[in-house]
């Protein structure tokens, strides 16, 4: 694997680690965007141009902004809690380590059977579009329905209920 891959992978993992470890919640959200950007670069390295740009547009442009809005609206960055980690943090860490051990073991055990460098697939945006409205039209419609439902749901959940307002 190339040097560039290791660099991007290190960036992504560092962003991810910082996102779960830092004390200040806004810093966590910003570190999360570093991880998202690193993932987008990894996608680009895998010749998935469309997915990489969609990743930047949706995760950095929308999800990260949503997260920081939520942080500011709930004043999570101002109130310093006594501890940022939950009481059962050790169990959580053990479970995560166990999951990683199993996944890593599975990958390394089967590494010899995995394919080596293959020719880059020639996939244009047009192919993706055709697939979306051809073979994958049903999932596309379901996602459209889901997004509509989620939009309405999010608005209703976050809507100020007048009668309950103090």
């Amino acid at each position: 694997m190339s040097f560039v891959f290791y660099l991007i992978a290190a960036l992504t993992l560092a962003g991810g680690l910082a996102a779960v470890l830092l004390r200040n919640t806004v810093h966590c959200a910003l570190a999360l965007t570093v991880a998202f950007a690193g993932l987008a670069l990894l996608f680009l390295g895998l010749d998935a141009q469309f997915a990489g740009f969609a990743q930047i547009l949706i995760y950095i442009g929308a999800v990260a902004i949503l997260v920081v809005f939520a942080i500011l609206l709930t004043r999570s960055s101002e109130t310093m809690q006594e501890g940022v980690f939950s009481k059962s943090w050790f169990a959580g860490l053990v479970i995560a380590a166990g999951v990683f051990a199993v996944l890593g073991w599975a990958v390394l055990e089967s590494a010899h059977a995995l394919p080596f460098e293959t020719a880059a697939p020639r996939v244009t945006v047009r192919d993706i579009g055709n697939a979306l409205v051809g073979r994958y039209v049903l999932p596309l419609e379901i996602v459209a329905l889901l997004l509509t439902a989620a939009t309405i749901g999010a608005v209703i959940v976050a809507l100020h209920e007048k009668e309950r307002a103090r």
Binding site: G16, A19, L46, I58, S76, I95, G104, V157
Partner: protein, 106 residues
């Protein structure tokens, strides 16, 4: 440690990212940070899909790529609803600390 297969290298990165996200979701007290952990896990899964698409036998079938694109769309909806819920909980309980949300404990 040198991993010869690029697919294996990507899978390892994804596994590590998934574990980081899982650890974050399980250990942080702030509900928003838990959501951040979940986002990281979703993204790690996306990386797996894209890597398998790229090095799989039939990249022109676009299966992994499509799954990743749909998963990105679903994750956006999930984030919107999840954060809406967190804001609603904050209004109700004046906190986003998950350790203090124990009212339904029997």
């Amino acid at each position: 440690m040198v991993v010869a297969s690029p697919l294996a290298a990507h899978l390892l990165v994804a596994a590590l990212l998934f574990a980081i996200g899982l650890a974050g979701a399980l250990t942080r007290r702030n509900a928003i940070l838990v959501l951040i952990g979940i986002e990281l896990m979703l993204n790690a899964a996306n990386l797996n899909f894209i890597a398998f698409w790229r090095y799989g036998p039939h990249p022109e079938a676009l299966t992994g790529m499509m799954f990743a694109i749909f998963s990105i769309a679903v994750a956006a909806a999930e984030a919107a609803v999840g954060l809406g819920l967190v804001i609603q909980i904050y209004r109700h309980a004046r906190t986003t600390d998950l350790d203090q949300m124990n009212r339904m404990k029997g």
